[in-house]
Subunit: 239 residues, 2 copies
DNA sequence: CCTTACTGAGTACACCGTTCGCAGTAATCG
DNA sequence: CGATTACTGCGAACGGTGTACTCAGTAAGG
């Protein structure tokens, strides 16, 4: 049930016999990514995809065993084309570059933040990215297991942040309202929270913190947190 | 469109006039949580919920404006009843306790890891939890904005880890196979990756690392990463 | 050249979230 | 005490969804 036979990356794109497919995986994938970026991931339905590509809905199942596999293709394609970072030799700078690249990629493709598109199926592009980031901390005297912990920890931070950063944005988008209007719907509740007196520190957050009023608060929070995480990872290094 | 009027936490549960509702929010919420825990979040449909509660599907819309609100209720209920941690006065121990509690909660309710159930709508229980964890780092000489960064960073790490830890488990569950069978479907692909020779470090991971063979690898990775993150957060403290 | 194995796709099934309208009921007001 | 008002439960229906089945058509291998 997982798929007709094995992982999609192991199935040949074109069969040995029979007529040539009228579509390519790449064609389908880029169409899906464009649709997801512009209309949201929930707009990527098999029928919508088929319409976009000018074929019947059922035809797509010649290319993909289940919709999940389409998502896998999308995720790996984006990892290949949109995740950019540099490995120059300074581990800290390199990991920072990776983190920024991963964040930027996720913000460009919000649907990448949801777990259905995780590293569930390690596509070739995804594998290349992790190979690259691992190479940035290779030769520092770390065991391979320690290297894994390091990358997984950083990855978790970035993805967790992206989740936080996108959750509000997604809530706004789904409500159909614009940012301002949505804010208005939240204000009365927040005020009631404050007036209840049961949340003194959250009250300070709302009243005193710069963050809620800073348009770049998410970016700032990310950058500050990232430096702390990198500080923490530095404590893993030998000596 | 966001909801009939305002946030659900601001709407009274029972109307001033008319017959008494035959269900309560709590009843609906606990039924939904149980269903999500046992059958997966995608099994939580309005019809299934209605059947479970012995009412018509449309009746649920007397309690909830959209399905999203039901998810909000579920998330906040779990934050209230299943997220346990202690604040004793040692900030590091307290944040560790929070992290462990948050991870345990997420593993017990995998659907909590997806962004649709994030802190999108800050329910009363969710607010109480964040109030509590903020109190653990109050009085350390940090600005309120710095306290926010600290909590958000830790939260991001834990949620990101939970996403990683659950993604495989979710993939297995959705495939309908058991763990062993699913593993078998992945092996040929992994072998091809290795044999391609393009991923030398990933090859070392597969061949040399203890992690892939360690049944507790996820817990270990979490604990190790958590200590690094806490080390990093310590570098935020004044002096 | 014929067998084999594929491709495209119409149709159908079993779901899904949500809306509408209507009958019934309880609290409030005059 | 009506009458009014505002609610409750919910059957039916609308427009979607993923996907299985089937069948005709086509290209390559032996």
């Amino acid at each position: 049930m997982s798929s007709s036979r094995g992982v999609i990356w192991d199935r040949p794109e074109r069969a040995a016999r029979g007529p040539a497919p009228s579509l390519s995986r790449e064609q389908i994938t880029t169409a899906a990514v464009t649709l997801a970026d512009t209309q949201g991931i929930e707009a990527v339905s098999m029928r919508a995809m088929a319409a976009e590509l000018g074929v019947g809905a059922a035809s797509l199942y010649r290319y993909v065993a289940r919709k999940d596999e389409l998502i896998d293709l999308m995720a790996d394609a984006v990892m290949g084309s949109d995740l950019q970072f540099e490995v120059r030799g300074d581990w800290r700078e390199d990991l920072r570059s990776f983190a920024h690249g991963l964040r930027a990629m996720t913000l460009r493709h919000p649907w990448m933040a949801v777990p259905s598109a995780g590293l569930r199926n390690l596509g070739p592009n995804t594998a290349r990215c992790y190979e690259q980031v691992l190479s940035a901390i290779d030769g520092l005297g770390l065991e391979i297991d320690e290297m894994l912990v390091m990358v997984e920890t950083l990855d978790a931070f970035v993805r967790g942040r992206a989740l936080e950063e996108l959750s509000e944005q997604e809530a706004v988008r789904r409500s159909g309202l614009d940012q301002k209007q949505w804010m208005q719907t939240q204000i009365p509740y927040i005020e009631r929270l404050i007036q209840s007196g049961r949340y003194p520190i959250l009250t300070r957050v709302v009243l005193d913190a710069r963050a809620p009023r800073d348009p770049d608060r998410l970016k700032h929070g990310f950058d500050l947190g990232l430096e702390r995480v990198l500080n923490g990872l530095a404590t893993m290094l030998p000596e």
